[in-house]
Symmetry: C2
Subunit: 189 residues, 2 copies
């Protein structure tokens, strides 16, 4: 999606360790009207007929998922991050490793909120190693729900989490895939 690429080029910053900061419009300050355009682009790329739930993980995916949910007229769920030793009953759980924070966390989702009747679109702001998305996919599977696809705003193509998911047969749509981010700027796939 050219509008997103343009925005990344204009406002994104590259920090040491391939950290890409887009905190002016996506994941700290959030331009929610622009997220509405991203939501509409997902609606063009996925067959959303019959979608019943938007699923994301806290915290930075919530804004984009909320706007998608609002525009599609279906509820969203955000899986919460819990310490492994503090899990209640009645929850789907999936343990993931966060490379950003260098620790294991467990994504949890209430069994009441996601069932075999649901058709789910997973939405997240970033896809890098794919750990968080794998956790969400795992939760959808535990629920026996149907996964319509995985919509991502910014994919770090050079970390190959998205490639792995596509190889496994998932329909992943990333609106901007960054192949390279260094002192020479951004290169998109």
């Amino acid at each position: 999606m050219q509008a997103l690429k343009n925005r990344i080029i204009r406002e994104g910053r590259i920090l040491p360790g391939n950290i890409i900061k887009v905190d002016g419009f996506l994941n700290h300050q959030v331009d929610t009207r622009f997220l509405g355009e991203l939501a509409d682009e997902f609606a063009r790329r996925f067959d959303l007929s019959g979608v019943t739930k938007i699923l994301t993980a806290e915290a930075s995916g919530i804004a984009l998922a909320a706007i998608c949910s609002y525009r599609y007229g279906v509820p969203m769920i955000f899986a919460k991050k819990a310490k492994s030793d503090n899990i209640e009953g009645g929850l789907y759980q999936s343990e993931i490793f966060s490379y950003t924070y260098r620790k294991k966390t467990t994504l949890i989702c209430s069994m009441e909120r996601l069932t075999a009747e649901d058709k789910v679109l997973i939405i997240d702001d970033f896809l890098a190693n794919g750990q968080a998305i794998r956790g969400l996919v795992d939760i959808v599977k535990q629920a026996g729900a149907e996964l319509l696809g995985i919509g991502i705003a910014v994919e770090k193509g050079f970390q190959h989490g998205g490639d792995g998911l596509r190889e496994d047969g998932y329909h992943v749509e990333s609106l901007a895939i960054i192949e390279q981010a260094d002192e020479n700027g951004f290169v998109f796939r």
Copy 2:
């Protein structure tokens, strides 16, 4: 706001320790169209002319703040929770104590994103002891920005955080104030 009170009566659950669960529409599964109605009610209760930013704290305030931001056409910012030993430069910081998680966290917000030019509406899903809101107010003050008000979906009136903020002169609007939540159900102020 009667529609919110009705929804709490219909779908809310009361757990031991005065924990109020509204995770079917507010802070796990989220009915974003309903949040649009809450956003419109805030717009009736506050003078939002000139508002430039919606400010909330991660994670559960993000969905409501995002919908407010979308409907008002101004950006939102979510203050992030950081460990106190992991703070970068260029950030407003405010240390808060979370009674829910029984630990100190530091709310952080980039100095680039909030300045003395801003007119800010603080939005959050819950107000109990008021610690998180006090942290956000502190960040607005550090920025030298103007605080237009504090909009809350559900206030736990029996924990008095909202009363303290009102006594200190802040314009707090809570769409449902729960005075009592026990085996006899909900009593609203």
